[in-house]
Assembly symmetry: C2
Homo-oligomer: 225 residues x 2
Amino acid sequence: MHRAAVKRVVRENVFDANDTLAGANREMLDRAGTYTINMMSSPGAGKTALLERTLERLRGKPRVGVLEGDIQTTLDADRLARFHVPLVQVNTDPGFGGECHLDANMVRSGLRELPLDDIEILIIENVGNLVCPAEFRVGEDVRVMVYSVTEGEEKPLKYPLMFRSADLVLVNKVDLLEHLDFDIEQFLGNLDAVNPGVRYVLTSARTGQGVEEWCGWLGQRLEGI
Amino acid sequence: MHRAAVKRVVRENVFDANDTLAGANREMLDRAGTYTINMMSSPGAGKTALLERTLERLRGKPRVGVLEGDIQTTLDADRLARFHVPLVQVNTDPGFGGECHLDANMVRSGLRELPLDDIEILIIENVGNLVCPAEFRVGEDVRVMVYSVTEGEEKPLKYPLMFRSADLVLVNKVDLLEHLDFDIEQFLGNLDAVNPGVRYVLTSARTGQGVEEWCGWLGQRLEGI
């Protein structure tokens, strides 16, 4: 009992500080006129590959910047460097296993390195994790989740918070559907059960399917500002 | 700076309490003669599907028990119920987003519900997460990691702690290799870079590839006791 009680207090403090910093990030981004997307998924769902297709397709209209979050390495940022967009890598560091998510303070340190006035849409690629990133607001306008069809139909029920907090779900790797025992109708039913009416796009970073629709959705975000 | 300092102290306390409880779990398991495996992976890498194939193959020799960890639902335990093995589901609960890992205390509550004297090998299926579960010892003898080839070659470099702490890696979903741009030699090189010489088995829960070898490895664990 003692441990649980201590833990609860600590977590509230952490979230409280995080929310304050997330609010400050949001003000900074709003002042710059930067619309910000927190992109989240399991490891290997295809966030970086989709970003590559996205940057290829948009070619600077609108002007996109990227904040890459990873525990270690700059591998993802290296993959995106060829697009010559404003890009910063935030490593969540080898504390012990490394932080399993980006929090508002880590994002803040990255924002300082970006020319926000020149960025219309900032995409924050979070650490690959289906749980913890959803608990931390970082100052984003919306959350976009990438889900790979290789992960199974039932994950919305098992990991509800992230699916529930998503504003858009990119259902990725659909080129593999014919090789999988994945019932997409069942997955979409589970998704709708935890996040009724949430919009989704079927995508494949490999074939390009859905990239046009996703980029169209991105463009519409700017019209509302 | 203040926040970082506070956080470090808190985490040390958490790990300290966890290690004490993990030690107590280990004593309980040793007394019962139960060899214990902490099975970890990303969400959707195929832990449950591999367990299904494993239980089909072993048919009670050795006698296996399962402790299922999930944030919510009993979906995985339901899938395994048909094998009539000792089985307990531990839900890590909707605290906020739910705990993203099993810790020693949660496992302890599950162990109390299991007939340990009748279990030669206990498989603990951890919450799907490539980061946090690796930070928490739960009393296991060994760690077995399941990795899906759909997750990409570079993950050992990006999430080193879990790969480094694994005693065996089941490289799963190899039936999909022909449909993926996955360079398995590169992955194995990355794996060896963070965990030199670690043993691995190429598996497919779908075709059954590698299940024999993995079950042989399991059997060998008991010979050493």
